[in-house]
Symmetry: D2
Subunit: 357 residues, 4 copies
């Protein structure tokens, strides 16, 4: 099987670097182009990027000359674009690329809630990929855009999926402790967060509250019917480097024993596991039994950052229709770059034939 030609847009940012890291040693994809801002264009990637990771940048990737995509004036020998640019820039690039026939997997937040744009976690809602047909029809595109979700919504929704297989949920309350990498490399001044907590992340609660309902909704008759539970979030930034932690409180329709939830999570697998996709973790959810797990420094690299780690699954003292647990996910990998690649693998596994989903 010859490799697909992949391009990364926004290759010098944090998510972009994670995409480059994953794709640089990928069995199915081959990085052929790296796009970044005008300032970086023309320089070798190793010079343009402030490589923030403790893994070496592969030499051959470092030699790629960074390009500036502007308003997509050029023509590209690329099979699939991975986009990790801010929303205002994505608005200029992504629809135009899709119009011209390219496949785009995008981590930027714009268009996520559009009716005809699938927002995918391959273990949770691969059938939503069928929206691509609606998207192409309604917009008259030969290409398409698929979105990953907000990182916290991704981690939360993946943890909820096996529970929703057991019972309906009435109401969800979450409190998040999100790492500084979620704000981007320059997002948070150190004076603001060292030894501190900021109990607010702009627009984050709104994103989590609506995106989760879409992800966990059902594809019906060409559109997504959102999930019916209520969800309320309070989001906090904490002085942690990588990994988002969520305290989850559930009110369910029925009494459920925590033991059954543990079992459901531990045994949960999705399409990527069935297809044995290269980036798929063996188990997308790892359940830890120790009382003090998950923890960011110990668990953020679980299955290369592709597994979420759940702990403290317990019924509330009020009654068995109440459940609480803690979940940690790698916001850069499972919350963005890794899921984007896993989506691409899912599509590729069916040769981009949407009807299979």
């Amino acid at each position: 099987m010859s490799k697909l030609k992949a391009a990364v847009i926004g290759a010098t940012g944090l998510v972009g670097q994670n995409l480059v890291k994953i794709l640089s040693k990928h069995p199915w994809f081959n990085i052929v182009s790296l796009f970044a801002s005008k300032k970086s264009a023309g320089r070798r990637y190793c010079e343009a990027v402030k490589w923030y990771m403790d893994h070496s940048l592969p030499d051959d990737i470092g030699e790629i000359k960074v390009e500036y995509i502007g308003n997509v004036e050029g023509s590209y020998d690329v099979d699939i674009f991975f986009s990790a640019v801010p929303s205002d820039i994505a608005a200029h690039i992504e629809p135009e690329l899709a119009r011209r026939g390219y496949a785009i997997i995008s981590d930027s937040s714009i268009y996520r809630m559009d009716n005809d744009v699938p927002m995918i976690i391959p273990e949770v809602n691969p059938d939503h990929l069928r929206l691509i047909n609606e998207q192409r029809k309604s917009r008259n595109w030969s290409g398409f855009i698929v979105k990953t979700s907000n990182c916290t919504a991704a981690i939360l929704s993946l943890s909820l999926k096996p529970i929703l297989n057991l019972t309906k949920i009435e109401r969800i309350i979450i409190s998040t402790m999100q790492s500084i990498s979620g704000a981007g490399y320059l997002g948070l001044p150190s004076m603001a967060i060292l030894g501190n907590i900021i109990p607010y992340i702009e627009n984050e609660e709104e994103k989590i509250e609506c995106e989760s309902l879409k992800i966990l909704g059902s594809f019906y008759n060409g559109r997504i019917l959102p999930a019916q539970f209520k969800i309320s979030a309070s989001c906090n930034r904490v002085p942690v480097y990588e990994g988002h932690m969520i305290n989850v409180f559930l009110e369910m329709n029925n009494e459920i024993d925590a033991i059954d939830v543990i079992k459901a999570m531990e045994t949960f697998i999705g399409l990527p596991q069935k297809l044995n996709l290269p980036t798929a973790p063996q188990r997308p959810i790892i359940v830890r039994k120790e009382p003090d797990r998950p923890q960011p420094i110990l668990d953020k690299e679980a299955s290369n950052g592709m597994a979420i780690v759940v702990g403290r699954i317990r019924n509330d003292n009020i009654g068995k229709q109440y459940l609480k647990y803690v979940v940690l996910g790698n916001n850069m990998i499972r919350g963005a770059a890794g899921t984007a690649v896993l989506i691409a693998e899912t599509l590729k596994a069916y040769n981009f034939s949407i009807e299979y989903f």
Copy 2:
């Protein structure tokens, strides 16, 4: 007015040091004795203590010779004892002191849930001090023990009081982000918490869940009827030096507008404010309107750590009977040492005549 003679038991610990700091410049109390472990006994306090605070230890206090109280064999020229020792040690000391006629204000957790032991936040439940009568009767003591509560329960309960003046509450969910000082100076290895979160604090959730109901309960016929709402907590340790943060989610019996809650909190005062007690903050609850407050490093010293700081008071998107907010309190001061001193002031203001409450 001559000053009361005060002693601190457990004077070298974190809470003990905060007691010493507050009492050392107090208009009503005079430190006459400092008790600590056998190891410290006989040394000057300035030598025995590893003074962790960025304020200087007053010279005269530093010269006090530390004593070992053992099983309370001695006799003490002391009017009031402040106790800040671990529970197992408190069990040997506090009942014996009370039996022998001393007044004890204690920050240790043992006996807190005993039927005849008042657990007090002077702004919230000063009338519970009437339990002292029951305690003396049932135990045949001439002295008495009054307890402060768990630090998080204190901060939470104080924030709830003005809301309970407006409406009944059905259910409370809290997620806490607690500072390392809450674990004591040696409590948390740096390897465990630097850049990390530990989503578990032993026994903390249980304490918060039951102590809050007692604090907010009502004194009736010689005992405390616990408050009737349900409460569920998930507790986390975060790399913050001082100050506990709580995300609070309320389900109330009625629809309440967040604006009314803001007003109720801002105007709330309690008995210490009415009595103008020396340690009482002008307002026990400070409401911040900025979207990103409270924050530990900015708000933990509010009113010398005696005011809690509340922010982000907002109705839930689900409906107006749901409310959420964030509250921060200084765990060392409002959560322990400061409240202990405020209790002593409250008692002293009425010359320890319990019938006034």
Copy 3:
């Protein structure tokens, strides 16, 4: 004595806020004007500033309407200006104010090394204030500019002064661990420094190496003859909020016993102490005997941040002409705002009559 009218330029920055904090309760100065960027102009100070300190902003100061000074087109009812703006902005403002007769005490780095500009630590080189005469003559100004030095140079130079009273120094090597506040509020992204060290601060080593020699130089015949020792620095940024730490290694001309250095430091006082100036610490150098001091969190507030704290004064194992010690100073206070105010007090104590120095 009626208070002098003081203005702060750059009032919303970190150093500006510290100036406002110190001046807001000063017995000799009265804040009458606060200047900041165009963006802040016209707003009340309490709205314009992101007050970063854990002390409350005084209400009356918060009500002052912030002004924009531009290129100094206005006329100001101000006796003394405190300037805390970046160098490029200072270049537009400071000379023009001085030309028009105002006294300026400036924390910005521009002009520091000019021959006729005094760079002052009042305990160390108050006689350098005589340069003001040269400055006025050579520039034909009726006002004048006095500079504080680089924060690390200030802390180092103050610690060296009592040693230079004992012996000549041949060579100084320093390694610094500087807090994030030294880079300004927005200076350092949290991703860059959380749990990390950056062994480089742009231009810092050069500033320390040349400014220290000027500060410790001697006023002779209308100019400063720089000190004659050699100095070499290596500067590091560390995840500390406030307070710069320096490891100092000295090679002296003579053998000196560490005990004599300890005594010289402990007994050292300067002009501000003799004049009993309001901001002067009782002792500008505090010597700690514990093996593990100074430490930023414990010592940065020593004497309200105006005393430097020295520890581990010891001869090298090589021989007694080698000495090493550790010194910590509050970079915001002793390294900038506090020293600026102390300079103003020194000048005011002599009614700005330069001939007294």
Copy 4:
């Protein structure tokens, strides 16, 4: 080649865990026994250990039943022991094992400075392994003990080796910023170090000052003649997880251009590289040209923690016989466990025939 049977003593500690991690996938060694304290004995390793690393503990290793070695009463089917226990425990174990014929590579500090005990960095002084003959003779042992050095001494000495190939050094001054992992998992309370610096590490300066001279000394006539330069250290603990940083200042006998030092470091290889040993990094010294490197979070994993990373190599402004640079090394790997394994590989490469060195 069949694998050698390896045992780790002190397997649950931080260095022990790193030994287990490296050996668990080693081509030449096979972990057959894990020893720990009495408390851990009899439990499976995965239960006994608080596995602190973000890499998974291999399943088969986790199943090994931990043993207690006591005073070495048993008999062991082991070819090589790796010891990572505190010195007081090492004193009971190591000599007795050596007496009974076992090979011990030890990370504990006891015996390091003994005349007949080699303290080895395989790239720097493999010829010191010849001391094993002296050791056996003088102590009448059939086995032997080889030591790694203090972690900071190891990192420093490796960085000095290529410079000493160019010139004699007169005097070395170092200031260290050492990570918390160097103190062991329970070594440093978080209250002591979060947002702080401790400018003191007990006995560390003494160890560095004497061990470096031994490592860089020369084997002559059955003993080590220590290197002749003078060395002076000031050691600091900083809130960094892993990786020790050193500011190095050299006074050399001759003028040396920094460029020549850079070249010497970049091209430096030692015996492990020539032998192509499994754990040997391709280059033991990586030179970074960026002005702000090395940094712990970016460089501590260089070549799996086996390469030290040097930056800011520059001549002093005083003159070309003065040089300064910054070096970072992984204290757990290059400073302890990794070097221990590299020593074992070096010995094994010659089938433990000492005469080859």
